[in-house]
């Protein structure tokens, strides 16, 4: 199908000052006064719901009490001892569905203690002022562990292993370490090159070597790693974005949102990025919200998220959905992609979607009614596909296209552990990946200590 409309995709839609303002910090950091006032609101609950809601079980009441008592660095140590990426998690955690959702102040007043911002205050305080890394390594054990992937799971695992005295080598496929912290998270959530600063902070522990541009299956094999190292942790995340399964999936203007965000994160000058005047995003998770908002921030005029089910089923939290809407993004639920419209040159000019509803068995069915939306770009944000060939060949059991692991992160291979997005467990959140990495490190340490 072709249409007559003229595609409008352009770079440099805004003045340079606008780019700086648009991609500045989402929340300004708390001032010391704000932090003290907010910390005073914490009730220091017993068996605190916030702490139980945190995937890394940070002792939230304790660190907030430490802030209130004028010991921000002590607060940071309380945080980092449970979650070495406490700084990044403070920026990217969907706190509104984790710690802050269950805060008793939410129950009492509808206004939770701003735990995420307080966590950022404490971790920033320490990271900006510390002279020595807050953790010491145990005596070296002589054991060597290979970590595949320098994302949150891999880095957290490596840090914990290094603390135990093991030596760690990290193999990272990309030019820079950091994983989704560096390539995936929305730019306005982690400005000021925070991902790399946090990475440097983590590496201060010592005993960790990072080999960038070294991909599993391309540059190293699991067999070789298995021979050389005492244990292996796999934390390589997921592969490319899933296709829509429509003709034109690879057409000009039909774009992998994860890849686009990676380019955006790496772009020194945001004005160099081409963005459509009219953008449609397909998906309902954080990636969909991130690409939609950032499209607006790059100057797209009309941005619509289309999601196949109802808004309540979206993986993006209510807060994230509201953030999208305040940034001028339209969210349209119950719409399933049906047809990609292309111009004479084959490039995307629009998308036709079919209204959907839950059938008698709960499965989604089309109503037959359709909606055509003109679009200069269609972003695909409907989940990432795992790269699993090399793994199943190495005898690692999979489950629903991801690696099957035990609670402590063990795979079916006795020397291999795994965590983060590549495993079949929990939500795909930074904080969950950190938890996986740290748990696996405990388990590896126990195994190596036998």
């Amino acid at each position: 199908m072709t249409t007559e409309s003229v595609r409008d995709v352009a770079a440099g839609r805004l003045q340079s000052a606008d780019y700086l303002a648009n991609f500045a910090d989402l929340h300004a950091p708390m001032t010391p006064h704000e932090a003290i006032v907010e910390a005073d609101r914490c009730y220091f609950c017993y068996d605190a719901p916030c702490m139980n809601a945190c995937p890394t079980t940070i002792d939230i009441p304790l660190f907030i009490r430490e802030i209130a008592a004028g010991n921000a660095d002590g607060a940071a140590k309380t945080i980092l001892s449970q979650n070495i990426m406490g700084g990044m998690c403070a920026r990217v955690c969907p706190t509104e569905t984790l710690c802050e959702e269950v805060c008793v102040r939410e129950t009492a007043e509808g206004k939770p203690v701003r735990i995420g911002e307080l966590q950022r205050y404490a971790t920033d305080h320490l990271m900006e002022r510390h002279t020595a890394h807050p953790f010491k390594r145990a005596a070296q054990t002589g054991k060597r562990v290979a970590v595949v992937g320098a994302g949150p799971a891999g880095m957290a695992c490596a840090h914990r292993l290094a603390r135990f005295g093991h030596d760690v080598t990290i193999f990272e496929a990309r030019p820079k370490a950091g994983g989704l912290n560096e390539y995936g998270i929305a730019a306005y959530k982690t400005p000021g090159d925070f991902a790399q600063r946090e990475l440097d902070f983590i590496l201060e522990i010592g005993g960790i070597t990072v080999k960038n541009e070294t991909a599993l299956g391309r540059d190293v094999t699991l067999e070789a790693l298995s021979d050389e190292f005492d244990a292996i942790f796999l934390g390589m995340g997921l592969g490319g974005v899933n296709d829509l399964g429509l003709e034109g999936d690879d057409a000009e203007g039909c774009i992998d949102a994860v890849k686009y965000i990676a380019d955006l994160r790496q772009a020194k000058d945001k004005a160099a990025l081409s963005i459509g005047r009219r953008v449609v995003v397909i998906g309902g998770g954080m990636t969909a919200v991130d690409i939609a908002i950032q499209s607006r921030l790059l100057g797209a005029e009309d941005v619509t998220i289309c999601y196949r089910r109802g808004r309540e089923a979206m993986n993006a939290s209510e807060y994230e959905q509201e953030l999208a809407q305040t940034n001028g993004v339209t969210i349209r639920p119950h719409l399933m992609p049906k047809l990609l419209e292309r111009g004479a040159d084959g490039a995307i000019t629009g998308i036709v979607l079919e209204y959907g509803e839950a059938g008698p068995d709960g499965k989604l069915v089309g109503t037959g009614e359709t909606l055509a939306l003109p679009a200069d770009q269609v972003f695909k944000a409907i989940g990432q596909s795992p790269v699993t060939e090399t793994l199943s060949n190495a005898g690692i059991e999979l489950e629903a296209h991801r690696i099957k692991v035990s609670d402590e992160g063990r795979t079916s291979h006795p020397k291999i552990w795994a965590g983060g997005d590549c495993v079949r467990r929990d939500d795909d959140l930074t904080v969950v990946a950190v938890d996986h990495g740290q748990r696996a490190a405990q388990s590896i340490h126990a195994a190596l200590s036998r």
């Binding site: 005073d40 609101r41 009730y43 609950c45 017993y46 068996d47 719901p49 129950t107 009492a108």
Partner: protein, 438 residues
């Protein structure tokens, strides 16, 4: 609110409401006092005057220290300021001028001169000439002046109190209020001495010896003056319980019962004032609340007191003055047959768990934390001694209440609820009671 009359007649000193500013920095000059009257204060006690001659000097470093609650709410204030450091003549002239301009307001003049008859004989006529309504003898200031044999140094010796009070009654025709220091072991002794000396009233409490904090860089008390600190006088909301207790002791002492009392100590809202009046005070004096928020707070105080009196049907202060005095008693007379149990309103509970951990760690293990795998806080009556700790640590007003058991059996003791009154004096576990029974 037409029904309610807030006016006060305190040992002959009349004011349109019972709220006076205490003798302190807010009442040191005509400028401040007139601002206070404009704001609605019923009276002031002018900041303490000293003898004729060169005035005292204050430190030029910090004079105040404080204790803060959440959000830096000021709970306790400490000061090391002395009596007025302005010339006596200036103060006397301003007092006369202000009294002339504000005839309906009470102006009481605080005085502190050496413990010699001549010194008092000299200053009293000068004060009387101003037209002020009365005098208050500062026997309470615990810092600086006490080192020179004045202030609390006099207030700690009942014989001196009686002697000086008698001089004042001899050389002045004005009402004499004796201001008492709390830095003693038994507040009834100085009160009795004041009465014996002919005092028309007492006022209390003056400030309490205090060091609010220690500077951990200089290792010196705050406020720190060039590396050193000295104890100051403590006041503000934190001292109100101490003041209420001392006021009640004087109000119920057979020797001083009926002696007018001006209540001082942490009065911050109308409710605090009502409590002091219920314990027998005829007026209240305020300082810290004004120093924290400014003079406007009196508007809340007068409106709140009038509103509450209207609700209760009290037309004048006399209607409820002293009503709480008969209910202040000794522990030994408390009814041991009165049984209460804490009750948690599950609809109001926000599940912070503080009641549980307070009870579990520090008291009687009487509150659940988990029921059927769910966080749930509920009182176990078979363990609850009715201590009230959970009520006090709960962040939600009225979520936990103490409920009286009116019938049945106390599941903790297994004893039936009794409706008669029994106290420690007759309890079998009391050795003295057993002796009496033998």
């Amino acid at each position: 609110m037409g029904m309610v009359d807030l006016s006060s007649d305190f040992c002959g000193i009349k004011s349109p409401n019972p709220f006076w500013l205490a003798s302190a920095p807010p009442t040191d000059k005509a400028y401040n006092v007139e601002r206070a009257f404009e704001a609605g204060w019923g009276g002031v006690v002018w900041k303490t005057l000293g003898s004729e001659g060169p005035p005292v000097v204050n430190v030029n470093g910090p004079r105040y220290g404080a204790i803060h609650g959440a959000d830096r709410r000021l709970l306790g204030l400490n000061n090391i300021e002395l009596i007025t450091d302005r010339d006596l003549e200036t103060n006397l002239r301003e007092i006369a001028e202000v009294k002339k301009r504000w005839p309906d307001r009470a102006i009481v003049v605080s005085i502190m001169v050496p413990c010699e008859e001549e010194a008092w004989k000299a200053i009293l006529p000068r004060v009387e000439e101003t037209g002020a309504d009365g005098i208050e003898l500062n026997f309470g200031c615990p810092h600086g002046m006490s080192e020179r044999g004045m202030g609390s140094a006099v207030g700690q010796v009942p014989e001196y109190i009686e002697m000086v009070t008698r001089w004042c009654k001899t050389y002045s025709s004005q009402p004499v209020i004796v201001k008492l220091t709390p830095n003693i072991t038994d507040i009834r002794k100085p009160a009795r001495a004041a009465k014996a000396g002919g005092a028309d009233a007492v006022s209390l409490i003056n400030t309490i010896n205090s060091i609010t904090s220690v500077n951990l860089d200089f290792f010196a008390p705050e406020p720190t003056i060039d590396g050193k600190g000295s104890h100051g006088g403590y006041c503000g909301p934190a001292v109100k319980p101490i003041a209420l207790s001392m006021v009640s002791e004087i109000a119920r002492d057979p020797d001083t019962r009926g002696l007018p009392i001006s209540g001082i100590g942490g009065v911050t809202t109308w409710r605090d004032a009502a409590e002091f009046i219920a314990l027998g005070c005829g007026s209240v004096q305020v300082c810290t609340a004004a120093m924290t928020y400014g003079f406007k707070i009196v508007q809340e105080m007068t409106a709140g007191l009038a509103e509450w009196m209207e609700t209760k049907g009290y037309e004048t202060l006399d209607n409820f003055m002293g009503l709480a005095v008969p209910n202040v008693t000794d522990w030994q007379y408390l009814n041991l047959n009165y049984v209460t149990k804490a009750h948690i309103d599950q609809d109001l509970c926000i599940k912070c768990g503080r009641c549980h951990i307070a009870c579990e760690d520090t008291s009687h293990q009487a509150i659940t934390s988990m029921v059927d795998g769910v966080r749930h806080f509920e009182v176990m009556n078979e363990e609850c001694v009715g201590c009230n700790l959970c009520v006090e640590v709960c962040p939600v007003t009225d979520c936990i209440t103490m409920e009286e058991m009116v019938e049945g059996t106390d599941p903790r003791t297994g004893k039936p609820i009794r409706h008669d009154y029994a106290n420690w004096t007759t309890h079998p576990n009391n050795p003295a009671a057993m002796e009496a029974a033998e």
